[in-house]
């Protein structure tokens, strides 16, 4: 058990050492929460039942991934991932728009 915890600490918190003591654990909690959020959205994606649900789920996954990207930027203390988040925010919705339009009208460029 203690070995498990040590391993957790090593693999999860080692990269966070530059963060403040509260932020360090908050970051861990936030990452866990976002991971669960992503897992739940993924579950909805697998589950459906309607095609709209899967689009909605994928849209949610994109937004949550955006947040995870920002979090990883803080974790790795780098701003090089910022643009990924920017692009998801600016253009990620197009996928949703196109899929929704496809479902509604078939032809998406009419």
């Amino acid at each position: 058990m203690s070995q498990w915890i040590n391993q957790w600490h090593d693999t999860l918190l080692l990269p966070f050492l530059h963060l403040g003591v509260f932020t360090k654990y908050a970051m861990l909690i936030a990452l866990v929460m976002f991971t669960i959020a992503i897992a739940l959205a993924a579950w909805r994606l697998f589950r459906g039942p309607a095609d709209e649900d899967t689009i909605l789920a994928l849209d949610t996954l994109y937004i949550n991934s955006l947040a995870v990207t920002i979090l990883l930027g803080i974790v790795f203390a780098t701003s090089v991932y910022f643009e990924v988040a920017l692009v998801i925010a600016m253009l990620g919705f197009i996928g949703t728009v196109v899929m929704a339009k496809f479902l509604a009208e078939g032809d998406i460029v009419k």
Binding site: T11, S65, V80, M90, D107
Partner: protein, 937 residues
């Protein structure tokens, strides 16, 4: 002219003539005949100019550099044997040209005929003049090819086409065997030159490869000379025009086989294997040909089998493996050529003037064609071996040699007996030729009224018949010297080494003479008996015709080949892909299988944390989900999108921001593409009924996946040394950018990128090739793109407004990414994709037609400008003397602004930017246009 020049000119003349004839109009008969005749006579003259030299016992040679890889030159030699054959080829050739000039009807294209004929003449000359074996093979196969063309000359006739193919197949196959044998000789001897091969006789015959070599060479000889069991093609070759039969299939080409025996005798002869194979083959052929000939109804068929028989005789003589027999063989080559050619010509005349070659129709022609009859009768006498004709002399020598066989018990008895039987048969069929055609009652059902041919058409026959007699009566004066030099060359001996033989009609009463007498009496009796008892006319086709066997063989071959092709190439992509994947699995496994396994894992694996594991599991589940949902395409695409998202997160986690950016952008564009395409496709894949196939594929896929995993794991647990630290060290000082990935893309490996943008540009072009101007007439049955609620197709206000605001923003963001790429994630590709997405968004929000009307853009040109920009950056470095794509960067000091770095790589990246926009937009716009065409009523 020097001797070598004369020699090569003699060979080239017919070939040049053939080429010239190709250009001659077939209506210009006189010109065609003139060229053919002129060439032949000129070649004859050249041969004559060379004659004295050869008769002096010298060998004329020509040598030109040709195939240094094989150490083979274009080398010709004219020795006695070659001279003999060259005389036959050119002499009889001249007569055949003359004969053919009258033989051909007005419908036959003369230029083509004589072109082929001269082509053959050149090839055949090449065979007999070659000074090395490779060259000999070359000309050998050319004779097969020209024979194929000549047999098929009357191409509208099925039997001609079949006969041509059969001859080509059999002699071509023999030629390939010959080639193999020759190559092995070259391997053993180290040279293909005849002299070297002769000199290496001992080495050759002691080599382990000798038996295969001998068999291969003999296969070549036997097929060409129609030896049993390869004889069947020759009768079928009679579909050729008669001049061809006279020339190729009696006088010359079929003699190439026995020529080869003679040629190779010094190197391959003089041993038991040679003796047994050659003599028994010759013997069998001799008997078979002679007996079957009697029962032919077709004049040319009779002559063909007779030819087979005589070729067997010559082969047998070479097989007997004694110098005297070889001399007899050479002698018979001459004699047979002369009388058989004349007989074929006679048969041709008969055919020409009566319209038939069937002896059941032809009767009593003596009355209408007395001169031709006389000529034919003399030639037949020669064929039958009647004294005073040339055939008699060589047959006598043959009988003597047959009796001389004593080394081998069985053959020493069999040979003389077989020789006698064959001689009896040959008398019988010769008699049948004379009796059945010129006498034996009245013609039956002829379409033409028989009469003598034009005077000149008979001339060649007359010349040959006179030759038969002259040689038959004064052999020593006429043929003696030629025979001597030919035999000498064949045996590869000096004049002194020649065995003692006598060319005289009368050798006293001896056993051979007795045999001749028996043959004459027996032959006449046999024919009389056969005519009386069973009436030869009623004999149907002889059973066991090898031709039928051959046809069956070829048909079966084609059936088998088709079956193989059909089963392997069943036009099933799934099958092909399965094979490729299985091969790849085998290839991957082969490395581990063939290389001794070493499990020294030198790198300690790092533990994976739970969150990463969860993400990985979601990704794997999404991939597997895509598989399980694949029939419901839309859902499968959603799961695929999730997989792609996880891939992007993977890139982020493992330090690849550029890849993550690219992945996300490509995902967005891909989903648009997929939606555009899916609109025209069924939304549901047809359910699979073949469960075996599914499970099989699952197993294969699993195995492949495990293999990939295994390899990845193996690599990741091995230490790594790479060239990459170089990039990290030089990217800033020499590449001028902090983003090593981008500097690699636009500079270190900018050349890859050049290719990559070409591919992306082409993707757009290809989509245009596929779908430009395509409209869909009717909705297919499987429910693809059924109309959806058209009544409510109002564009969304919210979407339109947000899109119009986003367009300038995306363009600005795109420029931002373009400018910063060298130092931070971004660059031309990413910028291009963002730009393109910005425009696509307008298509989605406002509709294609409106966007294209208000923002007309020729995306093909964008691709062109992009390629041009990239290419100009490349050649720009020439100016300063550096190689293609050498980047330069400078800091420029501008007013207000501090120093800004301008790298030439940015101009290159501009090319990338333009190409990406052009390629992506061309693909998307073309697909979009298809949809719009469809929605029109």
């Amino acid at each position: 002219m020097t001797q070598p020049t004369l020699l090569v000119l003699m060979l080239l003349l017919p070939i040049i003539g053939a080429l010239a004839l190709l250009a001659v109009d077939n209506r210009n008969r006189a010109l065609a005949i003139g060229i053919a005749g002129g060439v032949t006579i000129a070649a004859c003259a050249l041969l004559a100019m060379l004659a004295t030299n050869v008769f002096d016992g010298n060998v004329a040679r020509f040598r030109a550099d040709w195939l240094p890889s094989l150490n083979v030159a274009f080398s010709l030699r004219l020795d006695g044997l070659g001279f003999l054959f060259a005389s036959l080829i050119l002499g009889i050739g001249a007569l055949v040209v003359l004969y053919g000039a009258y033989y051909l009807s007005n419908d036959d294209p003369p230029a083509r005929f004589f072109a082929f004929l001269l082509f053959f003449m050149g090839a055949m000359l090449g065979v007999v003049l070659s000074d090395n074996l490779i060259l000999l093979v070359v000309f050998w196969e050319l004779t097969s090819l020209s024979s194929f063309l000549l047999i098929g000359f009357w191409r509208h006739r099925e039997d001609a086409r079949q006969g041509a193919r059969m001859a080509l197949t059999v002699t071509g196959a023999g030629g390939l065997a010959l080639l193999a044998g020759v190559l092995l000789i070259g391997h053993v001897v180290g040279s293909y030159d005849l002299d070297a091969v002769f000199a290496a006789k001992a080495t050759l015959q002691e080599s382990a490869l000798f038996t295969p070599i001998l068999i291969l060479i003999l296969l070549g000889a036997f097929t060409k000379s129609a030896q049993f069991p390869f004889h069947f093609w020759l009768p079928r070759a009679m579909a050729a025009p008669t001049p061809v039969s006279a020339y190729l299939h009696s006088a010359t080409m079929v003699k190439a086989g026995v020529f080869l025996l003679a040629r190779m005798y010094p190197a391959l002869g003089d041993n038991d294997t040679w003796f047994w194979i050659v003599s028994t083959t010759g013997l069998a052929t001799l008997l078979l040909g002679a007996v079957v000939a009697i029962f032919q109804h077709d004049l040319k068929g009779l002559l063909a089998y007779s030819t087979i028989s005589h070729l067997g005789l010559i082969t047998l003589l070479f097989g007997l493996d004694s110098p005297l027999a070889v001399v007899a063989g050479v002698f018979h080559i001459i004699n047979h050529a002369v009388f058989k050619a004349s007989l074929f010509m006679a048969a041709g005349i008969i055919d020409h003037e009566t319209g038939s070659r069937d002896m059941r129709q032809l009767n009593g022609l003596w009355k209408t064609m007395p001169i031709t009859a006389t000529l034919a009768m003399v030639a037949c006498a020669a064929m039958a071996g009647v004294p005073l004709a040339n055939g008699f002399l060589s047959k006598e020598m043959f009988f003597a040699e047959a009796l001389a066989v004593d080394a081998h018990r069985l053959l020493s008895i069999a040979t003389p007996i077989a020789a006698t039987i064959a001689a009896i048969a040959s008398v019988a069929y010769s008699l049948r030729f004379i009796h059945d055609v010129f006498f034996n009652g009245e013609p039956v059902g002829l379409t033409k009224t028989p009469h003598e041919p034009p005077r000149i058409m008979r001339v060649p026959v007359e010349i040959l018949v006179v030759l038969c007699l002259v040689v038959g009566i004064f052999p020593a004066f006429t043929i003696g010297p030629l025979l001597a030099i030919a035999a000498q060359a064949t045996l590869n001996v000096t004049p002194a080494g020649l065995p003692v033989y006598s060319l005289a009609i009368w050798h006293g009463v001896n056993l051979p003479l007795m045999m001749s007498a028996i043959a004459l009496v027996g032959g006449v009796s046999l024919y009389v008996v056969l005519q009386k008892k069973i009436n030869l006319h009623t004999v149907a086709k002889l059973p066991g015709d090898a031709k039928v066997l051959f046809d069956v063989l070829i048909e079966n071959l084609v059936v088998v080949a088709s079956a193989i092709t059909r089963t392997t190439q069943n036009a099933s992509l799934q099958r092909y892909l399965l094979l490729i994947i299985l091969t790849a699995i085998a290839a991957g496994a082969a490395g581990f299988w063939l290389s001794p396994s070493t499990n020294s894992i030198a790198v300690r694996p790092q533990p994976a944390n739970l969150l990463v594991t969860i993400f990985a599991l979601i990704g794997m589940a999404a991939a597997i989900g895509t598989v399980f949902m694949h029939r419901e395409r839309f859902n499968a695409l959603m799961l695929l999108g999730l997989t792609g998202l996880i891939i992007a997160l993977t890139f982020i986690y493992f330090s690849a921001p550029d890849l993550a950016l690219t992945q996300v952008l490509v995902e967005v564009v891909s989903i648009i593409l997929m939606m555009l395409a899916l609109n025209f496709l069924p939304k549901l894949s047809v359910k699979e009924t073949n469960h075996f196939r599914r499970y099989r594929d699952m197993v294969i896929a699993a195995v492949a996946g495990l293999g990939v995993s295994w390899i990845v794991y193996a690599v990741l647990t091995r230490p790594f040394n790479s060239i990459s630290p170089y990039f990290l060290r030089t990217t800033v000082p020499e590449g001028g950018g902090a983003n090593a990935v981008n500097v690699i893309i636009v500079d270190f490996r900018g050349f890859d990128t050049l290719g990559e943008i070409a591919v992306l540009g082409m993707a757009g072009l290809i989509v245009a090739v596929l779908l430009r101007g395509i409209s869909i007439a009717k909705s297919p049955a499987d429910g693809a793109f059924e109309a959806k609620a058209p009544e409510n197709a109002r564009p969304s206000l919210l979407l339109s407004i947000i899109s119009s605001i986003l367009l300038p923003i995306t363009i600005m963001v795109s420029i931002y990414f373009y400018l910063r790429g060298h130092n931070l994630p971004g660059g031309g590709f990413i910028a291009g994709l963002i730009f393109a997405i910005g425009i696509i968004l307008q298509y989605v929000a406002l509709g294609r037609e409106k966007v294209e009307a208000q923002l007309p853009m020729n995306y093909g040109k964008w691709i062109g400008w992009g390629l041009l920009a990239a290419g100009l950056t490349g050649v720009g470095s020439f100016v300063v003397g550096f190689p293609f794509l050498t980047s330069a960067f400078q800091y420029f000091k501008l007013p207000v602004v501090e120093a800004v770095p301008i790298a030439s790589a940015m101009f290159f990246d501009l090319g990338v930017f333009l190409c990406v926009i052009g390629g992506t937009m061309l693909a998307l716009a073309t697909l979009a246009k298809v949809s719009s065409t469809r929605s029109a009523p």
